[in-house]
Symmetry: C2
Subunit: 257 residues, 2 copies
Amino acid sequence: MCQLMGMSANVPTDAQFSFTGLIERGGGTDIHRDGWGIVFYRGRGIHEFRDPQPGFDSDIARLVKVSGIKSKTVISHIRRANVGNIRIENTHPFVRELWGNYWTFAHNGQLRGAKKELALGRFRPVGTTDSEHVFCWMLGRISAAFCDRPDSGKKLSRLIADLSAQLNEFGVCNFLMSDSRFIYAHCSSRLHWITRRAPFGVARLKDLEMTVDFSAETTEKDVVTIIATEPLTRDERWHLIDKGKLMIWKDGRTQSF
Amino acid sequence: MCQLMGMSANVPTDAQFSFTGLIERGGGTDIHRDGWGIVFYRGRGIHEFRDPQPGFDSDIARLVKVSGIKSKTVISHIRRANVGNIRIENTHPFVRELWGNYWTFAHNGQLRGAKKELALGRFRPVGTTDSEHVFCWMLGRISAAFCDRPDSGKKLSRLIADLSAQLNEFGVCNFLMSDSRFIYAHCSSRLHWITRRAPFGVARLKDLEMTVDFSAETTEKDVVTIIATEPLTRDERWHLIDKGKLMIWKDGRTQSF
C-alpha cells in the first residue's frame, strides 16, 4: 500500500510542513520505502521531484523540504510496491498533458484485474503499475468524451465520479488527481482532509517533533486544505471522506457538482 | 537564444561534468539566465529538474550537480527568453508520453509564424513558447503516421528528418529530442558533438576551472557522446553538425537511416 498527500490553497503556499510529515513515513516512521514523488503546480507549469529511494533518506527529498516552493496545488505520494518493481517509472504522481494542462495522479490501493479489463485509449503507461494503467484509462475516457475542456465543470466532475465508481469495483481505489486548478479526491477505504483558515492556530506533526504556528505564516484570507491517507498532525480534527465518494477542491474550498 | 546539451552513452554515465559547464552559462559566463531544465532517463522512467531561476544560482541546479544520477540518455537546456515569459511552463525540455515512452524536446532558435501555420493534433502546449508548439506539432504528426512504434526505425527517422526540414523553413531550429533510447539532433545553425571512447583522456571545461580524467571514470567499453550548442571543453576536437542535417545517436553511437 501507499500513502497520499495533496494540498489545495487559494494563495501559493509552502507545503513543507505536510511534506516533511509524509516523507518521514517513507521508511522512517512507516514502511512506504519504495520510492516517492511530488508535483507542485506553479501556474500552469509543474515542478516535479521523484526518487525510487526511500523518502526519509533521499537527497532530493531533503532539497524539497527546504526549497520553499509555493504552490496552490500539490500532489505527493510515498510508495510501498505491490504491483510493479521499484523503478522510477513506477513512482507516483504520474503526469500526462490533456487539453494543454498537465494532469497528475497518485493512487493508494490495489485494483485486481484492472489492467486486463480496462482497455486503453490514446494514453499509455510507461511503467508497470495498475495505478498508471487506470490513470491512462481515465484520461483516455475523459478525452474521448470531450475534445476540449467542457464549459461545464459539472459534466467533467460527473464523468470522473462515474469512472471512479467503476474503478472501485476492482478493489481499493483511493486517489488524488489534478489538472492544476482542481483536486479530485476519491476515497474507497481511507482518505482524510482538513481545511485551515483564520483564526489559524498551531499544529504539531505526528511523525516527528515539528510544530508550526500557521498564524505567523498566513493572512486572514488564506484557505488551505490538506488531504492525506492518514492525518499528519496531532491536536487537529481531520475528516474522513465517505467510502465511495469523490470530493473536489479548488482554491482550498470544496466544490459541489 | 538558448543553449542545448545532450548525452547518449552505452552505459549509465554521470553527466555532472557537462551539466556543470552548461549551467555556468545560465547567467554566469553567458546570458542564458531565464530558466533551465534537465531530463535524465533511467530505463523507461525520467528524473526531471527545472527552474525558472538562472541556472548558475539555482539551488535545484546545485543539487543536480552533486546528485550522481547516472543515465544513458540526458537532455538539458538553458534559456534566454524571446517567445514566452519567464515561467516554469516555458522551461525546456518539454515532456510528453507517446507509445508508452516519455519523449523530451529542447530547442534553440526562433520559428517565426510556426505557431500560426502548424496545426496541432492531439498534443497541446501548456506554455506559450514556439518551441513547445513545434514539439507538440511533431508528436502529433508522428502519432498520426504511426499508431504504434513502427518496426522499422528507418521509417520513423525519415519522418522526423522530413518534419525537421519543414521546421527549418520557419527560421532557426536546432533541437534535441529523445524517446529514451534515441537522441535526434537537428542543426540549422550551430550544434556540436564529440564522442569519447577508449583510450580516454583528460578534459577541461571552458566555463570554469574543472578538469576530469575520464580514464579514471570509465571502462574500455564505454562510449559516450555529448552534443552541445557550443563546445563545453578546451583541448578536445568537437564536430559541427552540417546545417539542415538530422543526426541520431543510440548508446553513444551515431545511427544511419
